[in-house]
């Protein structure tokens, strides 16, 4: 999920960049040097996720996974996502320099919120509760990203309203798929490598 170069107006770009820099600053401050390799792994996974297509009916969508990145990383999701987006710009020219701040915001803010809402529930020993929290986390983060994206577009230009509504509409099935996948994935990690979930 990216907003391309050349679409937003400068006030939106500038405030996006300012918030993203603030968030990344907090994230870096909280990130201990020895945790950087683990953060880098999730950042790389976030990058690669956008290349993985899952089927939905006759079509397919690519994964986003900012929910799980947020759940596992907390504030460090900001630098992790910013780095992943820079690399996506570098490799595929998705997003870009001027939109880096806005795109980081719309992916990372939901991720961090996800961490605060759902991480404590996931750590509980109650299987049902943690799976439900996993589903909600995956779905919520994509939903919120969609809303943020629409909001950025409409703030930039009133005329973008229809495109924005379309963006939100497209994200509803994605939301459900991300929910399901995040749920199973959390179940997998809790079983196989609980230490990755943090404590």
């Amino acid at each position: 999920m990216h907003i391309s170069e050349g679409i937003l107006t400068w006030p939106v770009l500038a405030s996006g960049a300012a918030f993203a820099i603030a968030g990344t600053g907090i994230g870096l401050k909280k990130l201990k040097t020895e945790d950087i390799p683990k953060t880098a792994i999730l950042s790389a996974a976030f990058f690669v996720a956008s290349l993985i297509h899952v089927p939905i009916g006759p079509s397919s969508v690519h994964l986003i996974l900012n929910g799980i990145v947020g759940i596992l990383l907390g504030w460090a999701a900001f630098p992790a996502i910013m780095v992943a987006l820079s690399l996506q710009a570098l490799f595929f020219q998705y997003g870009g320099i001027t939109t880096l701040g806005v795109n980081t915001m719309l992916m990372a803010l939901p991720a961090v919120l996800c961490h605060f809402f759902f991480h404590p529930l996931i750590l509980r020993n109650n299987q049902f509760l943690s799976l439900a929290a996993g589903f909600s986390g995956g779905a919520f983060s994509v939903f919120l990203s969609g809303i943020l994206m629409a909001a950025f577009l409409v703030f930039a230009q009133r005329e973008f309203l229809e495109v924005s509504l379309l963006v939100i509409g497209v994200h509803i099935p994605v939301m459900i798929i991300e929910g399901i996948i995040t749920m199973f994935c959390i179940g997998f990690l809790k079983k196989v490598q609980p230490s990755l979930m943090g404590g």
Binding site: S43, V48, V83, L90, C185
Partner: protein
């Protein structure tokens, strides 16, 4: 799957100090992002195209990239002229094509492509060790650069793990469908990628420490400080300034 087709080359741009390229790309992109006038927009699109030519890149590959990236732009090109309201440009039956929508859509298309082409010519022409080096010496936070460089390395690790697991899933008769079994398989695959990639990340980091890594990066790439770098920077700033003047003269 993952390639950096633009990073190999021996053009003048490839040889320019990456720091100068990064800074000028950033300034130029910011200016283009806020343009409205068609004169300045077309001028910057032409200028970006000239940069791509100067970098001596394969035209086909560049076009492919541009086509891919323009998907999102296409959305605007299709929807805005129909929905923007205002003066009607022309009508086809009951479909009204609004003039402000057409203008906006065209502006977006020009801006996007101008910025992306400049990015390809100036930034995508760096390989990652030079980029890491550049970020480091531009004074970005140490932890950020470290994270950046490790992420870059692990992208290939993860991509490989992904391909390998996917192969294993395939030889066991899996075919993707919209079923719970399918989504569960994807989730397990992603979980396994996380777990295995973390283990490998840990080991790669150990290997780096065994070779005396202490958080700072050195590179074999040489970018001797030369007048040419400054000349390049001056040229970029001057061109950017000209575009600003055009915008002010024709639009402002």
């Amino acid at each position: 799957m993952l390639q950096e087709p633009f990073s190999v080359g021996n053009s003048f741009l490839h040889r320019t100090d990456p720091r100068f390229r990064l800074v000028s790309a950033l300034l130029y992109s910011i200016v283009v992002a806020v343009l409205y006038g068609f004169f300045s927009l077309i001028a910057s699109a032409v200028f970006s195209l000239a940069l791509v030519r100067a970098a001596g890149l394969d035209g086909k590959t560049v076009l492919k990239r541009l086509a891919l990236v323009n998907g999102f732009v296409l959305l605007f090109l299709l929807i805005l002229p129909l929905t923007a309201g205002g003066d009607i440009f022309f009508s086809i039956g009951f479909l009204h094509i609004y003039q402000p929508g057409v203008v906006l859509a065209l502006q977006i298309a020009l801006k996007s492509n101008a910025i992306i082409m400049a990015f390809i010519a100036l930034v995508s022409t760096m390989n990652f060790s030079t980029l890491g080096h550049a970020l480091n010496s531009l004074g970005l936070p140490h932890k950020f650069v470290f994270l950046f460089i490790l992420t870059y390395r692990y992208i290939f690790v993860i991509e490989q793990e992904y391909k390998k697991i996917w192969r294993s899933i395939k030889i066991r008769g899996f075919s993707p469908k919209t079923t719970l079994h399918c989504y569960k398989t994807y989730a397990y695959m992603i979980g396994m990628i996380f777990v295995k990639a973390s283990a490998r990340a840990e080991r790669v980091y150990r290997a780096m420490r065994c070779r005396g890594f202490n958080g700072s990066f050195y590179t074999l790439a040489e970018f001797p400080s030369s007048g040419k770098n400054w000349l390049f920077l001056f040229f970029m700033l001057f061109s950017t300034f000209l575009i600003i003047l055009m915008e002010l003269y024709f639009y402002g």
